[in-house]
């Protein structure tokens, strides 16, 4: 089973107001709530539409899907993909796998924290970037590697941060 945003009528790039976003998520749920195991897909779609999954939205999903909130929250908190905090326009994942770690990933994280003025897990005040770390992303030959959204940046040094961020 797959859920597709395209099946739903929406003229406005996932809606712009909270109300529109909730309405769209509601439509998603109504279409799929009776299918077993659809909670994860609904949460994926909801995060796609709303950007993140705050408690209020989890309550909305729980009620609409007729599931306990503790179950919805259990799934949200289990998968690191889901975020309960507002996310920036772009997400930076610094790889902290073994290869990247030994080639200076920790220093890179500190430099990024310094540059962006936020700690790991936080969003910059202008909502442009979320800084996060990842376990091995499977690009050990490029260590230390950084992913910004879906782009992999190779052998990033603290001195190369500005150039990398400029692209976004």
């Amino acid at each position: 089973m797959s859920l597709s945003l395209e099946n739903l009528t929406c003229n406005c790039d996932h809606g712009s107001t909270d109300e529109e976003k909730y309405a769209l998520i509601g439509q998603m749920i109504d279409a799929y709530k009776d299918k077993e195991g659809s909670l994860i897909q609904v949460l994926h779609a909801a995060q796609e539409i709303y950007g993140y999954l705050p408690l209020e939205l989890q309550k909305f999903i729980a009620l609409r899907m007729n599931k306990p909130l503790s179950e919805v929250n259990g799934v949200v908190s289990f998968y690191s993909f889901f975020s309960t905090k507002e996310r920036g326009e772009h997400t930076i994942h610094v790889c902290m796998g073994t290869a990247c770690y030994v080639r200076g990933a920790q220093k890179l994280v500190e430099a990024l924290e310094d540059k962006l003025g936020v700690a790991v897990g936080e969003v910059t005040p202008d909502k442009k970037f979320t800084l996060d770390v990842a376990r091995c992303i499977g690009a050990c030959g490029l260590a230390p590697a950084v992913m910004v959204d879906n782009d992999v940046h190779r052998q990033v040094q603290p001195s190369g941060i500005d150039a990398m961020l400029k692209q976004y």
Binding site: L55, K59, L63, P68, L69, E71, N73, G74, Y79
Partner: protein, 605 residues
């Protein structure tokens, strides 16, 4: 039933097809240690302490999960098994809070007992620098301490599958996994019903009732007149705290112990149960008569003695609260009578009185914190002890319980009828009400052998009966031939089923009894813990019916002290005094408590 053959530790064994290896071993008298497994309740295979070696299988098997097969060759204590169990145990305690000496489950802890059994003598995986992490979350009823949680998930099973409340669940993953309400919420701020069934199954000190022992010790040492009352289900379970079999009736010794502890009066909540029948029976008759006369009244009427059930209804069915009887629960009625009637009789200032309820229940602890449970600025009840807490206090007082003489409750609030005794078991409140209501309408005794309404006696989740009213008294002529449909449920999953009918407008019933815990108060969240829940429940229930049958009076309206109370004070059931002191109203809360500002969070000291 077809049997299969297997050998366990070289001994030929037989077991019913379909049983697990663990059950097969135990049925054949072979002990296998286990931890998360709880017979009839929880089968999850999470702790893996019950692993056994199966000849021919590569890995050790969790015996609680694997079905016994014909020809299996099992070893339950081979060297490999013993080593694995020890390692599993050591991993489990590596991040466990080890303040065992000052833990309330000291010597009463399944984890501790298991360590002893496995002869574990070191803690190689413990981390001295960061020994454990977790939160302590105190609600009025239940205290959670996640530093003592071993993630067995028994509580998750009872909360979700048995009670359908679904507050507790596993959140986060890996080392960060916690059994908790939704991240960041405190139990007292959720839709928890406070039934305490999670507390009753917790193997460690992770879930406990919020202890009121200190409140009571302090009161006993103060100048106050400290009055205690005991619920019907306590007397058939308190003996278990002192090694007696479930279902041993210990009313007399319990009263003697309370007197030795220094309580000023020892009263019986059963007296107030008889009072409840007068009030609730009258309320039902009023609603019923209104409907018979073509008026509008809210039926089915649903009992309100169980505060866990009441809170569940307020959270999950906030628009159906008019169906609840407006009667307070018996112990809060008793508190109101003590402080606003009995005090005057004795010439005491009610502010100098302190009322303690000994209850099989954890929900009653948060019930007494509700704004509605006070009159004239005084709480009806000041402290609630669970049966387990009373057991602790008796021991701490140095009382040799088993050597006590049997004593009687004090009067006038100590005499009760058999109808009150059965309040402690599922079906009991309904039967007690019918013994009185039927007689009022027909002038005759309830037509069942020994006064037991047999269709509603027993431990099924939902029970129902139809009572046909015939040859009624002249003043009830409009009820002639009417078939009163009743239902009884215990456990909140059953309550949910009946309430879904009520909500949909399809409920066929006129009167419903709900008790929040499966089996009723006899296996409430405050009762002594047991590994044999079904057997214990049955034994306690039988004891409750024995206590009823042993009473000279079996119907609430025959209690002479109740009659005297109405003559002396309240006038008539449902009258002005009753409405002021014995009845209450309910709070719409909603699933996320979004309809109220009230919560039951107690900040940690």
């Amino acid at each position: 039933m077809s049997m299969i053959n297997l050998t366990i530790n070289g001994i030929p064994c037989q077991t019913e097809k379909g049983t697990t290896i663990l059950q097969a071993a135990r049925n054949n008298g072979i002990h296998v240690p286990s931890l998360c497994h709880l017979k009839d309740i929880h089968k999850y295979g999470t702790c893996r302490i019950c692993v056994v070696e199966q000849v021919g299988a590569k890995n050790l098997q969790a015996s609680c999960m694997v079905e016994a097969q014909e020809g299996m060759e099992i070893y339950t204590h081979s060297e490999r098994v013993r080593k694995a169990r020890k390692t599993l145990y050591q991993l489990m305690i590596s991040d466990h809070n080890k303040n065992c000496l000052s833990c309330l489950r000291n010597q009463d802890c399944e984890l501790q007992a298991l360590g002893r059994e496995l002869a574990v003598q070191d803690d190689p995986y413990g981390n001295d620098e960061q020994p454990y992490q977790g939160v302590i979350d105190v609600s009025e009823s239940i205290t959670r301490d996640t530093t003592k949680c071993i993630l067995c998930r028994r509580c998750v099973t009872v909360c979700n599958e048995i009670q359908s409340v679904s507050v507790l669940n596993a959140q986060n993953r890996g080392f960060d996994t916690k059994i908790t309400p939704v991240t960041g919420l405190k139990l007292g701020d959720t839709n928890c019903s406070f039934c305490g069934q999670c507390v009753a199954v917790c193997p460690t000190g992770a879930l406990s009732s919020t202890i009121h022992e200190d409140r009571v010790w302090k009161a006993l040492e103060s100048h106050k007149h400290v009055i205690v009352q005991t619920a019907p289900a306590v007397r058939v379970a308190i003996g278990e705290c002192f090694g007696l079999e479930p279902g041993t009736i210990q009313t007399g010794r319990m009263v003697a112990a309370l007197r030795q502890m220094g309580f000023y009066r020892v009263f019986d909540t059963n007296w107030a149960a008889d009072l409840t029948i007068m009030e609730e029976g009258t309320e039902f008759l009023n609603r019923f008569a209104t409907v018979l006369d073509g008026g509008e009244a809210c039926l089915p009427m649903i009992t309100s003695c169980s505060p866990g059930w009441v809170k569940f209804c307020e959270n999950h069915f906030p628009e159906q609260l008019d169906h609840l009887s407006t009667c307070k629960s018996p112990h809060t009625m008793m508190g109101a009578v003590i402080k606003h009637y009995y005090a005057k009789k004795l010439g005491l200032n009610p502010e100098d009185m302190f009322v303690v309820s000994v209850m099989p229940c954890t929900a009653k602890k948060s019930e007494i914190a509700r704004a509605e449970m006070q009159n004239d600025g005084l709480p009806n009840v000041d402290a609630v002890l669970t049966t387990r807490e009373l057991g602790d206090m008796i021991r701490a007082h140095g009382i040799n319980f088993l050597n006590l003489p049997e004593e009687e409750f004090d009067n006038p609030l100590g005499q009760s009828t058999g109808a009150a005794d059965i309040f402690g078991t599922t079906g009991g409140v309904m039967e007690a009400a019918l013994r009185t209501v039927y007689e009022i309408i027909t002038g005759r005794e309830l037509p069942f052998p020994n006064l037991h309404v047999s269709p509603i006696v027993g431990l099924e989740e939902i029970k129902e009966a139809t009572i046909k009213l015939e040859n009624v008294k002249p003043e009830w002529s409009s009820a002639e031939g009417f078939e009163v449909k009743i239902a009884v449920t215990s456990g909140l999953r059953g309550a949910r089923k009946l309430m879904e009918q009520v909500e949909a407008g399809t409920s066929p019933y006129h009167f419903i009894e709900v008790m929040g815990c499966p089996g009723g108060c006899i296996t409430g969240g405050g009762q002594p813990r047991t590994f044999h829940i079904n057997e214990t429940r049955k034994a306690r229930m039988e004891a409750i019916y024995r206590e009823d049958e042993g009473k000279p009076l079996r119907k609430s309206h025959e209690n002479p002290d109740i009659k005297a109370f109405y003559e002396d004070c309240a006038g008539e059931p449902g009258g002005h005094w009753s409405h002021e002191y014995l009845h209450t109203h309910y709070v719409k809360r909603g699933l996320f408590n979004e309809m109220t500002d009230e919560n039951f969070v107690v900040e940690k000291d």
